[in-house]
Structure formats: C-alpha cells, structure tokens
Symmetry: C2
Subunit: 393 residues, 2 copies
C-alpha cells in the first residue's frame, strides 16, 4: 500500500492495469475488451448504467444520423455501426443475454411538404456521401409501413441502420466484463487521484468535465416510452425518424411492445420532464403514426448527453497526461459508438499505437488541457504504475 | 364472539354500531361524523385514500358543473358546496391539517369561436337556474387572468366555485375520524357478511357493485399533474375550465406550484395512461395557458370514478336491506359531495329519518336490488345489532 496513496476498496487487485471511471456502455465495453485481453481492470461507478444509456433509444444509425458538417463523425459512426453485428453476436454469446438487436432498417419520413423538402436536402447529402439511402415512392412507403399516417408526404429507407436496446446492453456488458475478470466498484470517483492504475480511462459521460477539464457539457434529452396495449408488438417494425410540422422525432419499436419516442436536444442541465416537450414529442409521434395515440404512456424521462464543441467524441490521452485516456463526449451517439470506442481504446492501451481512426477525436484538438491535480502521476511514479507510457502513447 | 360469524380483527370493538366499507373521503367523513356523535365506528379499507380521491382534482364547482338534464344533481352539489367552508374549517381545526382550500373562483373559457358558442349555451343554462355566472368582456377576462392565451375568445366567472386538495383531505379526514374514536382496519371486504355491525355503510366507490349489486360502473379518468419550475406558485390563481378546439379541460392551480390538468371521461375499466389522452390534455392546457409548456410534468395517472346510470350518487338503504346503506356512485363529484353525504348518512343513522334531500338519490330508484347474500342480517338477528332498524329507516 502506498503511503498517502488513494484508498483502494477491499478485494480489488492493487494496483490494476486499467481503472475505468464510468460503467455506462462505453466504460463497460472498454473494461470487457481490456480484461478479455489479460489486463487487470477495475471499473468505478456509483450506479452502473444509470446515465445517458438508461434514457437512450439505441439507434445504430450512421446513415440517418449523417448531418451536414459532421463528415469525420459520420466516418466514425459508420465504422462503429459496421462492427455492431459481430460485437452484438459476441456479447450475446459471452453474456447469454438477448440485446434486442434488430436489423429492420430505418424509415426517414416527412409529414408535410415543408418537412419533406427539409428531409430531401438531408437525403441528398447522405447519398452524396455514398451512404445507402433509397428514396421511396409514397406507395412503396405505405407498403413497407402501413401504420404511417396517410398524410405523411414521403420517405426514404436507410436499410443498414439497425437498433439495440440499451437497457439490455448495459447488463450484458457488465456480465461480459465481469466474466472476463474485471472488477466493478460501486463508488463515485471525485478526483483522478482517487484511483491508482497504470492507465485511467475516463468514460464518465458528463462527469468527465469535472475530472479532466475537457469541454464536455450536458445536453438534455427528453424521451418517452410507450407500450402497445395488450402486450403485442408495435404495429410497425422499422425505426421511423422524421420531421412532423418542423418537429424532429424518432420512433423506435421493440419486440416486447415498447416504442421509444425521442428526443429533445436542449442546452440545459436539469433532468426534469417538461409539459411542452412531452406535448411536442407526442404530437409529432401521433401525427406520423396515429395508432400510437392508443398506446400506453409508460415512462417520461430526461437524461444528459455528454456534448462537445464539435459534437464529436473525445478519445485518447489527455494533453500532458498520457496516463489518462478520455473516452467521453459521445453526445447522441454513445450506443452506436460503443464497439469502435472499446476497440480503439483497448488497442491503444495494449499496443501503445493509436489507430488512425482516433486522430480527429483526440483531446488535444481543444488545445492544452490542464487537469485539476497531478495525483495519479505522482502515485504512478511512486510505484503504482504497471504499464509503461510508451506502450500506449 | 358469534359462532360462525365473521372474523373480527383484534382490538376492534365488537360489534360496532357502524361499519364503513371504504376509506375514501366519503367513507371517512361518514365515519368522522358518526364517531363524533358517539357511535362506535369501524372503517375497512386495504389502502385508505388510494381510490378516485387520489386522482381527483378537488374542484368544488356546483356552478361550473351544472349540466343540462342534471337538475337534481345540481341541487345536491349546490347544497354540499354551501357546507364546504364550514366543513373545511371544522376539519382543519380538528385535524390540524391544511386542506389547500381556496376560494379564488372558477373561470370558464372558450378558446375558439365554436368553443365559446358551446360555452355560452351552458352559461345561459346555468344563469337560468339562478346560479352566479358572470360573463366577462375579453378585457375583464385578461385583467383577471393574464396567463390566459391571447386567442382565448371569451369567458365567464363562477366566483363561488372553490377548490380543495384531495390528497390533503383524505389524511385530514382520517385523523379526524380516528380522533373521534373511529377504528381503521386495513383489509378488504369481499362480501357484506365479512363485516358485522348495526349498520353497514358501503362507501366503496366502484367496489360497491360487487358488494351490493347496485349499478355502479367504473368511469376512467386520466389526469396530469404539472409543477411550476423553481417551486413558485402557478402563474394563475383561478381554476380554469373550458373548451379548447372541442376538448374539455380543467386546470387547477395549487399554492405549492402544482397544477392539476384533467380529465378524460372514458367507459373503460383499466387504469393505464394513454399517449392520446396525455396529448389531448396537454394540447388543450397549453392552448389555454401557454406558460404551462414550461412546467414540469410530474405525474400522469388514471383513476376509476364510480358512475351510475343517471350520473347521480346512490345514497340510502338498499331495497330489502335496511341495515345496509349505500353512499357511493359519486362519479365526478365525490369531493364536493363529501360534506352533504356525511351529514345526510350520519343523520339517517342517528335519527332514522331520511332528509328530504336524499329522496332523489336512494337505491330503490333503480328497482329492486337483491344483495348477494344475507349474512349481515343474520348476524344482527343473532345479537350483533346494536341499533334498531326503525331508528334510521
């Protein structure tokens, strides 16, 4: 035990090779990948899976999410979505869990002529990137999804956009990480010096700002969960996304009858559910799929996404702190980016070589960052380190 | 102990003079009134106050609730509302509780020209009954309630319509009843023969049908609770009721910041909250008072009102069962009718003389009713009775 070093929970291997701060999907997946490759891993979280993942819809939609001006992010989303089928299969195999993975594709629609005009601009942009967007004739749209309102003016299919259920994903990842040998510690990390490890991975979502000084800010999202009455499956099978009288909404159907309706994007730090947001989401949802009016409203919830100045995640070593890796700032894309984040971060830890995919997303793009305190580096210099910096930086 | 008689909970005086089945406001108020006048009273309920009262908004609005074709009901509502100020004062004094009683009056409004035309027909009817309805000029309406949307076309004031908070009322009544000597037993009554008493009062809301065979049916109502952000009081002080694009809605502001938005009236027996109902209520609410969009949505809830064929309560002895008094079927009016119901039923038990007010509301207006089983009468004949039938019938 290091004199003056951080307290270590009983039963935890000390010092571990990797300490992960945050047991959301990203943190757990990194822990799983690292532990499966022989590293000693400890994950710290007071309430695993209770963050943004608990609110998230779980769309794996690099095509539908390809927006103007986010070219590099689109590349990472596409790379991660491509890893999802194998990642899901391996995770289901290791954990024994059903992740609710579905490959039914996403329908992008516009309710009014104005909505459709806006949607068409986006589809043209996506097609220009070479992404698989198939514009449908109205009759084709209805044939694919008869539950759509007759007044929906038009749509397009992103057949390769899939979905997963984040509330199934988190416990599955936890099981996988623990079976691979990772240890979960139920406790909050207030300062980086609270943990001692060869490498500390900050996968703490919005909490990364206080720990690292990185420009991660909470972006509030409000989401509803409906349920088809009588326990049947929803009357539509695609994820439906679109504009309804200028309101953007998505509808994610699950096999068990649940439909996730989301989401607001608000520069607010509270997690209250507002009447106006619920009204706007419900109105848009029912305008697009009228049968949803008959569904039960089973949950209204708000969460905080970890947003960044350029809407892209922050992946890699902090400037001046090669022993601290950020894996945060995933904003609206935490679920889809989980596999690629876990692969790239665990590879970096194991090989010391950053994958070229990481280049646009490193912390240093925001300039010099000075962490609050140098406690971890000091502990490592005193003998807490089990890995050499040059291994991963 | 009677051989073969019903089981009696330990510590309960046996046999009591009065057994009340149901610890909602009506049952508890009857128990309070009876116990305060010296009778031994036992109240049976597995979950006191968990029925329709938990959902109810608590409007004491005989004027705004005076509808075409319900003349006799309007008389009873008016009689009970007139008793409310003294009832509330006495109950607050006895229980030490703040009931949230407010005398700010009700504004009845119409959003569109069509809504206003419909409202005006009702106001003319109410004025024709001699009820105090003051039609306001648009400028008067805005002066009274600046939070109303500018597009609200017109309104009228029912200054004598008050409100109380049912969630404060129930525990206050329970305290009052217990301080007067009544005993609460936490348990369900499945059959009338489960209880033995001189008189059994069935104040079980929708549960009265199974116990008595009376034509009481559940009428579903869905209600929202909003809360002004920051813990401030709502930006309006009147109860606001009205039509918004054909949707009837009421908005009940409470001092603590809560606003109750209600209510659907559905011939359904489930208590699920539907997306369509929440959408309609929120849309109407925000159309009438736009600032409500910024309020937190803190609760969505559905309850079952005890409806009757003529929408009026059922008060008095069952046909052929003078030892069983009904006090149920209060439908949308349970809170406002609590004082008059408690007074009339307790007077009937004490004096044996039915008040003339009861005449239109007795069970026999639905024809002969045959209770499922005669267990209680048998028990009384065997010695369980402490009151003579002629005292109250």
């Amino acid at each position: 035990m290091l004199t003056g070093g951080p307290a270590q929970p009983a039963g935890v291997p000390f010092p571990p090779d990797v300490a992960v701060v945050g047991a959301g999907p990203v943190g757990l997946a990194i822990a799983w990948r690292c532990a499966a490759r022989g590293l000693r891993v400890v994950v710290h979280d007071p309430a695993p899976g209770s963050g943004a993942a608990h609110v998230a819809a779980g769309m794996l939609a690099p095509v539908a999410e390809a927006y103007f001006g986010e070219h590099e992010l689109t590349g990472l989303l596409t790379a991660s979505a491509a890893r999802w089928p194998a990642f899901a299969a391996e995770l289901a195999d290791v954990s024994g869990a059903d992740l609710g993975y579905r490959a039914d594709g996403t329908l992008m629609v516009g309710l009014t002529a104005d909505d459709l005009a806006e949607a068409r601009r986006l589809w043209a942009y996506q097609q220009g990137l070479g992404l698989p967007v198939a514009v449908l004739r109205p009759s084709e749209l209805r044939d694919r999804e008869p539950a759509l309102a007759p007044r929906v003016r038009g749509g397009a299919l992103a057949a390769t956009d899939h979905q997963v259920d984040p509330r199934r994903l988190v416990p599955a990842l936890r099981t996988a990480a623990e079976r691979a040998g990772a240890t979960l510690v139920a406790g909050a990390v207030r300062r980086l010096s609270d943990v001692a490890a060869g490498v500390t991975v900050v996968a703490a979502g919005c909490g990364a700002a206080a720990l690292t000084g990185l420009p991660v800010r909470p972006v509030k999202g409000q989401v509803l969960r409906l349920r088809a009455p009588g326990g049947v499956a929803p009357g539509f099978r695609h994820v439906i996304r679109g504009y309804a009288d200028g309101e953007h909404v998505y509808l994610v159907p699950r096999a068990g009858g649940e439909v996730v309706v989301g989401a607001t994007v608000e520069e607010r730090t509270d997690t209250t559910v507002s009447a106006g947001a619920v009204l706007r989401l419900l109105r848009a949802a029912v305008d697009l799929v009228p049968e949803l009016a008959e569904y039960d409203l089973v949950e209204t919830l708000a969460g905080l996404r970890p947003g960044t100045p350029d809407n892209a995640p922050i992946l890699g070593p902090l400037t001046g702190r090669p022993d601290v890796l950020a894996a945060t700032g995933h904003h609206r894309h935490g679920i889809v980016l989980t596999p690629v984040t876990a692969d790239l971060i665990s590879d970096l830890i194991l090989t010391g070589e950053p994958d070229p995919l990481l280049a646009p997303f490193t912390p240093d793009r925001f300039g010099l960052v000075t962490p609050d305190e140098p406690g971890v580096a000091g502990a490592r210099a005193s003998g807490g380190a089990t890995m050499k910096e040059e291994r991963w930086n």
